[in-house]
């Protein structure tokens, strides 16, 4: 093995290879067993050195003893404890014995979470006295008496008592049904006592903490001084460390819902409401923008020929923790859905149409999926015709795109293809070309969490 090969492999582990060199290394590893053996040696040494030194002192500090216990012993011990905690938490959830004071934890797919500075696994328990650190994603805590807290990263929360959560930092939303009345949330500057409601808290060390009430009532007290208030729905207050309390409107949109696995980005039913131009949907922060034609609301649906209506989707709709998009459209009979022109729904990102589903341009009279970077639309199999409820499913993790009949995406798609992964889609369009007609009763766009890749 020559020096250059050793330097090549060493550079790989130092992160010093560019893509071209990395590609060359890959090609050679495939064909040169001697290089692969050298690579393995470097990999094992790299791992051992990382284990020996990772997390130890930085520049200017003393060097640890090299004769001490291997670093993976405490790491393994920590893992064992964390995993054992999961196991016993799980056992606890399974068993019928009286529940200790513990909250169940559910994580987002991308979450990085520690309980008392140890990595925690999804499904693990969170006992009174413990500190939960959410470094990425979100954690839903199922608290005693059916209270639910949704903690968003970055956040640090201490479970002080069965009815008390302390937000050391970060943002969270709480749902406290009547059974959990009196549930208390503390932060550095405020104490909030629930009176049967939904509310959010923001804890910012060094700045004012905030309490936002979405429904019901919450009593808030400043930690310093005597300022206090009872906040009602849509009211909020900021409380600083000096005890000053300042009222303001609540911003519910700043907080995740307590069911963050699903976020409805758009839902509109065309059996009621005004015309499509500037129309506010039933659910959605934006409004419809009519760019062509004049579709009409009639007979409980929207119907138009030669029209294009756009809706801007939120930028943070599809995320790492909610990577799957479901677009469901319910159509009814129209005079000319299947034509040589097109009628259907498109998804856009940055002005580029990435996919279309509906009746595609061309003589085929069937629902189809048109992936705009491919030449030919793919018809459903079996062929689907006429007024239908159809759901498009896109998984941004691997770019899988599917069409399903019905309002959900089951395991048997009518079409399954792949487009670019990582898309987030910023616009949706409904429309039809001149000579074709689209008649829509309902449309919904949802982002969902779906951990296992298919």
């Amino acid at each position: 093995m020559n020096l250059n090969d050793q330097q090549l492999v060493a550079a790989a582990f130092d992160g010093a290879l560019d893509k071209t060199s990395f590609r060359r290394l890959q090609d050679r590893l495939l064909n040169e067993p001697a290089l692969l053996a050298l690579y393995r040696e470097h990999a094992m040494l790299h791992h051992s050195l990382c284990e020996e030194f990772e997390g130890t002192q930085m520049i200017g500090r003393s060097v640890p003893s090299v004769a001490r216990t291997p670093r993976w012993v405490p790491v393994l011990a920590a893992c064992a404890v964390a995993v054992a905690a999961v196991f016993f938490g799980w056992q606890w959830l399974k068993s019928s014995r009286p529940a200790p004071v513990m909250a169940g934890c559910a994580f987002s797919a991308d979450a990085i979470v520690k309980v008392d500075d140890r990595q925690a696994l999804n499904g693990s328990g969170f006992a009174v006295g413990s500190r939960l650190s959410v470094e990425r994603g979100w954690v839903r805590l199922n608290l005693p008496k059916q209270a639910v807290a949704l903690v968003e990263a970055p956040a640090s929360v201490v479970f002080e008592a069965d009815h008390v959560l302390r937000f050391e930092s970060g943002r969270g939303r709480l749902h406290c049904p009547e059974s959990a009345r009196g549930f208390t949330v503390k932060s550095g500057s405020l104490v909030a006592v629930d009176q049967g409601t939904d509310f959010g808290v923001v804890s910012r060390p060094g700045a004012a903490d905030e309490l936002h009430v979405f429904s019901g009532e919450v009593a808030v007290n400043a930690v310093t001084g005597t300022a206090r208030a009872v906040l009602h729905a849509k009211e909020a207050a900021a409380v600083d460390s000096a005890g000053a309390l300042q009222r303001m409107p609540a911003r519910e949109e700043d907080f995740e819902s307590v069911t963050p696995e699903l976020r409805v980005l758009l839902e509109d039913r065309f059996d009621t409401g005004g015309p499509i131009a500037d129309r506010q949907p039933v659910v959605g922060l934006s409004h419809w923008r009519l760019e062509k034609g004049s579709p009409e609301l009639k007979g409980g649906h929207l119907e138009g020929t030669g029209f294009e209506a756009f809706y801007s989707l939120p930028m943070d709709g599809l995320t790492a923790s909610r990577p799957v998009l479901l677009v469901t459209v319910e159509t009814v009979e129209s005079p000319s859905f299947h034509t040589e022109q097109w009628a259907g729904v498109s998804l856009y990102q940055e002005g580029y149409e990435h996919c279309f589903f509906g009746d595609c341009f061309g003589p085929e009279e069937t629902w189809s999926l048109d992936m705009k970077r491919r030449l030919v639309p793919v018809p459903t199999e079996p062929r689907l015709t006429g007024p239908r409820t159809v759901t498009l499913r896109y998984d941004r993790r691997d770019g899988t795109i599917e069409l399903h009949e019905g309002a959900s995406a089951g395991s048997r798609p009518l079409v399954r293809k792949t487009i670019q992964s990582g898309l987030s889609f910023d616009q949706i369009r409904i429309g039809a070309a001149d000579g074709a007609t689209l008649a829509v009763v309902k449309i919904s766009v949802r982002a969902i969490q779906e951990p296992p890749l298919r």
Partner: protein
């Protein structure tokens, strides 16, 4: 896990937890080997742990946990290549991962032996060389910063690191030979 074969789910889960714990280091070494130069191996291990826990019912006691868990790790890496690449991490192609993975898998026992040998070899180094290794593997900060602190050029440190790692590899190899253990 088949409930009819394993009526005591608790015992099986205990065995699962034990296997998962025992293979943490080997899984981490495997991930590091497949993502050279990336700093996110521990994050990825955490993701794989969650998947393994969610799939625990699919693991059949008595079969090789290592084979199963490494396969899940491989698939996870391959499925998330684009996400990892977007972070600037270099991950091997699927085909290469499939073909070289067997060569890169290490048993927990081998890693333990290697680490013990490394400890002995590190003890023979000069303090300033150990400091350099510590800087490289502890801080992740650019070598230039450290070069300024100790008033040496980054190029010299890079070359020193290269020589140190070569010396450590040879030292570990010798330790294995002395103990009559053959390296895989």
């Amino acid at each position: 896990m088949n409930a009819s074969k394993n009526p005591d789910e608790g015992e099986v889960s205990e065995a699962f937890v034990s296997e998962l714990t025992n293979h943490q280091t080997a899984m981490l070494a495997f991930i590091r080997a497949l993502m050279p130069g990336s700093s996110g191996a521990r994050d990825l291990l955490q993701e794989v742990n969650i998947i393994l826990w969610q799939k625990r019912a699919q693991f059949e006691p008595g079969t090789s946990f290592k084979a199963w868990s490494f396969q899940v790790t491989r698939y996870h890496l391959m499925n998330h290549r684009r996400r990892l690449a977007s972070k600037g991490w270099l991950v091997f192609d699927d085909d290469l991962v499939e073909r070289i993975s067997p060569a890169l898998e290490a048993d927990p026992g081998e890693l333990e032996s290697r680490h013990q040998a490394l400890n002995l070899c590190l003890s023979k180094l000069r303090p300033k060389d150990r400091d350099l290794l510590q800087h490289r593997y502890a801080s992740g900060a650019p070598l230039n910063d450290y070069a300024k602190v100790i008033n040496r050029s980054a190029g010299t440190l890079k070359a020193t690191l290269f020589n140190l790692r070569t010396a450590l590899r040879k030292c570990i190899e010798r330790r294995f030979q002395e103990q009559g253990i053959s390296l895989p």
